[in-house]
């Protein structure tokens, strides 16, 4: 587990993969003119689901575009199974779902996926068979007859996923694939991705919503300002965040009594009243929440609302970034 720009997953994670089924970034830097997109990134991503998390503009899409061979690194190498990601040979193994909402709008979902299968060189019959199979897998078999222009955002997301899967690649690069999908659909997609990971596929999935990835990924890459600021298994990344300061808003009765009790806690850095609720700053969220539970039970405090104010990915990244610098 490291908190540097160079990230190497534990050997154990990828021993099963061998060198053939790895996506590797080796000292990769990408400049857009004078602006740096990703900065000196080294990591190896093997079978299973790896979450790529970061705020907007962190460099996630650049990293995925480098991996899908749409961009070439200014410095360093990106390899898919040992082959340069820019090469045609690497693209045989690649399934890519972009973070854009563009299609051949006049086609139906089924025609689109079938066309993508044909563009992978499949015969008409095999393309038809694979199309039906992946449409079934993404839950679109009964709705794929609609033109894409008439599909909802969630349906279009599923079609994008289907076209990425249609040629059965071992590497899946999914850029924000869960955006716009309802909770039920999200569960189905998560199950599908877990099933694919179970088959030994390497899946890199990006999101700016940490919780979305937590449910799926067995390992994480956290990006900020073009660098990987944390990586490792989910437990390792959670450990890093365990001791980060947190602001919690609590609407409770009696509020003054709770405020007095909380100030006795050495991990509480400050308490203030804001719009009738307590805003508490703590430096050790885990200990704080344990103690809060005890106080509520012991003193019969009625808690109406409890929410963390800076638990979003940005706050996590800011914290990790501060620790890194």
């Amino acid at each position: 587990m490291q908190r540097t720009g160079h990230v190497h997953f534990s050997d154990q994670t990828h021993r099963v993969a061998g060198s053939a089924l790895l996506l590797t970034f080796d000292g990769v830097t990408k400049f857009y003119g004078p602006v740096i997109g990703v900065n000196n990134i080294s990591c190896r991503i093997g079978p299973g689901i790896t979450g790529l998390v970061g705020a907007n503009g962190a460099g996630k899409t650049t990293l995925i575009k480098l991996a899908s061979g749409q961009l070439r690194p200014t410095d360093g190498k990106v390899r898919i199974g040992g082959r340069d990601a820019w090469s045609t040979a690497a693209k045989h193994h690649l399934g890519y779902s972009p973070d854009l909402n563009s299609f051949y709008e006049e086609m139906t979902g089924r025609q689109f996926v079938h066309t993508m299968a044909r563009l992978n060189g499949f015969s008409r019959a095999l393309a038809r068979e694979r199309t039906e199979h992946v449409l079934e897998e993404v839950g679109m078999a009964d709705r794929a007859g609609r033109t894409l222009a008439g599909c909802s955002h969630g349906m279009r997301q599923r079609i994008k996923l289907a076209q990425a899967l249609v040629h059965d690649p071992w590497l899946l690069l999914l850029d924000e694939p869960l955006g716009g999908i309802d909770p039920g659909g999200r569960r189905e997609i998560n199950e599908l991705l877990l099933r694919l990971a179970g088959q030994g596929k390497t899946i890199l999935i990006s999101s700016h919503i940490l919780i979305e990835i937590e449910q799926l990924a067995h390992s994480m890459l956290m990006m900020s300002r073009g660098r990987i600021i944390a990586s490792g298994t989910l437990a390792e990344v959670r450990d890093l965040m365990r001791y980060r300061p947190l602001v919690v808003e609590i609407a409770a009765e009696p509020a003054r009594r709770l405020a007095a009790l909380l100030t006795e806690n050495p991990d509480v850095l400050g308490v203030e009243m804001r719009d009738g609720a307590l805003v508490v700053r703590t430096r050790n969220p885990r200990v704080f929440f344990d103690r809060l539970g005890q106080l509520i039970c012991e003193h019969g405090i009625d808690v109406r609302r409890l929410q963390t104010l800076d638990a979003g990915a940005d706050a996590v990244f800011d914290y990790l970034e501060q620790g890194r610098s």
Binding site: Q70, L71, T88, H92, Y96, S102, F103, Y104, T115, L119
Partner: protein, 253 residues
């Protein structure tokens, strides 16, 4: 995985999408304008030297110099440019088809479409123009085909190079082809239509077509002009293939 199958799917897909695009509607307007002109001025006239000269000048100065580049522009820039603007190019770039072959598939889809529109409408005008048109058809057809090839290739080069290729190509067509192409001196050599006109004037001369005064238009030999057009077609496509295979299209997402 069969590369030929993937390539032919791309070529067919591109042809179908181009044929049903707004480009088709766009080229109908100038073609219809030419049709009206031909019907009004030349419909079913008997052959005479004046009639032939009149029809030839219209074909050379309006159809070949303006309408042919507009047709090539409409489809040539849209074949890759349309995918760039719609941001669907990303779905092609991540497929296991070498980038130069993606471009060749696009060119292969575009060329028959533009050729069939140019040659088909030219044939129709010649039929409607009576005997003068029938004489003109075979005389100018090779130049029309070579010009179409050169223009389609050139506009593919524009499409892979510039983000807003249609606008750049329109500026090129109006400025370079229409203005510089009609300037005295050697500056007109930057225009594709200069080479086409050199061939057409040489082909029509035995039938009574008079080329413009030498101080305005110094034609090249037929052979040189034909090689120049073929060179633009081949060179343009090769350059486009090199650019397309190396270029990052950052505007896609």
């Amino acid at each position: 995985m069969n590369l030929l199958r993937a390539w032919s799917t791309l070529a067919t897909l591109s042809f179908r999408r181009l044929a049903w695009s707004t480009s088709t509607l766009m080229v109908l307007l100038p073609l219809a304008g030419c049709l009206l002109f031909v019907v009004r001025r030349h419909y079913d006239r008997p052959f005479s030297e004046d009639e032939f000269r009149d029809f030839s000048e219209f074909m050379i100065l309006v159809f070949a110099s303006f309408v042919v580049p507009i047709c090539a522009l409409a489809f040539g820039t849209a074949s890759i440019g349309g995918d760039r603007e719609d941001r669907t190019l990303v779905f092609l770039l991540v497929r296991p088809i070498p980038r130069p072959l993606v471009l060749v598939a696009k060119f292969t889809a575009t060329l028959p479409l533009v050729l069939s529109i140019v040659v088909g409408s030219y044939w129709l005008y010649c039929r409607l123009a009576g005997e003068a048109g029938q004489v003109a058809f075979s005389l100018y057809l090779p130049a029309m085909i070579l010009m179409t090839l050169a223009y389609v290739s050139l506009f593919h080069l524009f499409a892979v190079t510039f983000r807003h290729a249609t606008i750049i190509a329109l500026i090129y067509a109006l400025f370079m082809e229409v203005i510089l192409g009609n300037m005295p001196g050697i500056v007109k050599r930057v225009a594709v239509n200069y080479y086409g006109r050199s061939i057409m004037y040489a082909a029509g001369e035995p039938e009574g077509l008079k080329p413009p005064p030498a101080e305005w238009f110094e034609p090249l030999s037929v052979q040189t002009a034909a090689w120049a057009l073929a060179g633009i077609a081949v060179g343009g496509m090769m350059l486009a293939a090199v650019i397309f295979s190396r270029r990052e299209y950052r505007d896609l997402t």
